[in-house]
């Protein structure tokens, strides 16, 4: 296996882990990294057992993270109901960087204000760089629906960011 083999689990891990963690954070902020870790463990197990890798490992990883995160969210909700509501402070999603073209905290707030089905498509398109066909496969919608949600999400975020900018200047 070469160091730049795109199907090498470790290479996939290095290149996709941040985007996968961000994707998992859309459902389960406090367990996102555990979810990603478990999915990579499964991918490595598949490789070790000699089974065939999924045809599109990137799409498979995002789909698996999505399923695992939703499952964790459901079990977490059940646990919270049992133990009483616990405040789940939203951790930061992005590394602070002076070269950022946009304020990370404002972008996160704008993202958080989006409906789930729009937000996940923004993550898959912007940070995972998946094509609309791949996004449609991961989310389980048509390509045109995926694009429509993406477009609506960007428009809503633009409005939100502009409103925040105007408020700060005022």
């Amino acid at each position: 296996m070469s160091a730049h083999d795109p199907t090498d689990p470790v290479e996939l891990f290095r290149s996709l882990a941040p985007a996968l963690a961000l994707y998992a954070r859309q459902w389960t902020p406090s367990h996102a990294e555990d979810v990603v870790h478990d999915v990579f463990v499964r991918l490595i197990e598949i490789t070790q057992s000699g089974k065939r890798l999924p045809e599109d490992p990137r799409a498979w990883l995002f789909r698996s993270v999505r399923n695992a995160a939703i499952s964790t969210l459901r079990s977490g909700a059940r646990r919270k109901r049992r133990e009483g509501a616990i405040s789940d402070a939203s951790p930061r999603w992005f590394e602070p960087n002076v070269d950022d073209l946009i304020d990370a905290a404002a972008a996160q707030r704008a993202m958080e204000s989006l409906p789930d089905e729009q937000r996940e498509i923004v993550v898959l398109r912007v940070w995972a760089s998946l094509g609309f066909q791949e996004i449609a496969d991961v989310v389980g919608v048509s390509v045109s629906t995926a694009f429509e949600r993406y477009s609506k999400a960007l428009a809503a975020m633009k409005l939100k960011l502009e409103a925040g900018h105007v408020r700060r200047r005022a």
Binding site: P9, V10, F13, R14, A17, P18, A19, L20, A21, L22, E33, V36, H37, F40, V41, R42, I44, E45, Q48, S49, P91, R92, W93, F94, E95, N97, D99, D100, L101, I102, A104, A107, V122, R125, V126, W127, G131, F132, F147, S151, L154, A155, M157, K158, L161
Partner: protein, 134 residues
């Protein structure tokens, strides 16, 4: 329609926003590929160990069952050669005879050798014969 063609359908400000968002780097601090690989190896090893345990347990069970059946006579033999009916032994006779060893022992313990009965007949003759030989 290609992805680029779809992106062209967005207005300029939305495309600009998308590229600005791309400049943000998602946080993934504690995710480590080495620990994931280690965990995968550990799980795989545990699975192999479990499989061996189950296999050896099943093999042991088979051996025990085979040994158990081979140590008993088969049913056919039992029907061909039925066991004799069980006989209940009668209670032992508790009345001790005059010559019983137990009585003699008790008598010797009480009264010494003199308590032994006098011997007659062949034993004396034999002793006399031996004495005569000497």
């Amino acid at each position: 329609m290609s992805d680029d063609a779809r992106d062209d359908q967005l207005d300029g400000a939305e495309r600009e926003l998308a590229s600005a968002l791309r400049s943000l780097i998602p946080i993934a601090s504690s995710i480590d590929p080495v620990s994931a690989a280690f965990e995968a190896g550990r799980r795989s090893q545990a699975r192999v160990t479990r499989l061996w345990r189950r296999t050896s347990a099943a093999a042991s069970l088979v051996v025990v069952v085979m040994l158990t059946f081979s140590s008993f006579p088969s049913r056919r033999t039992r029907t061909d050669d039925p066991q004799p009916a069980m006989r209940v032994a009668s209670s032992p006779d508790v009345t001790l005879s005059e010559q019983s060893v137990l009585r003699l022992r008790d008598a010797v313990l009480d009264r010494g050798w003199g308590a032994l009965p006098v011997t007659h007949g062949r034993g004396v003759d034999r002793a006399a014969t031996v004495r005569g030989m000497l």
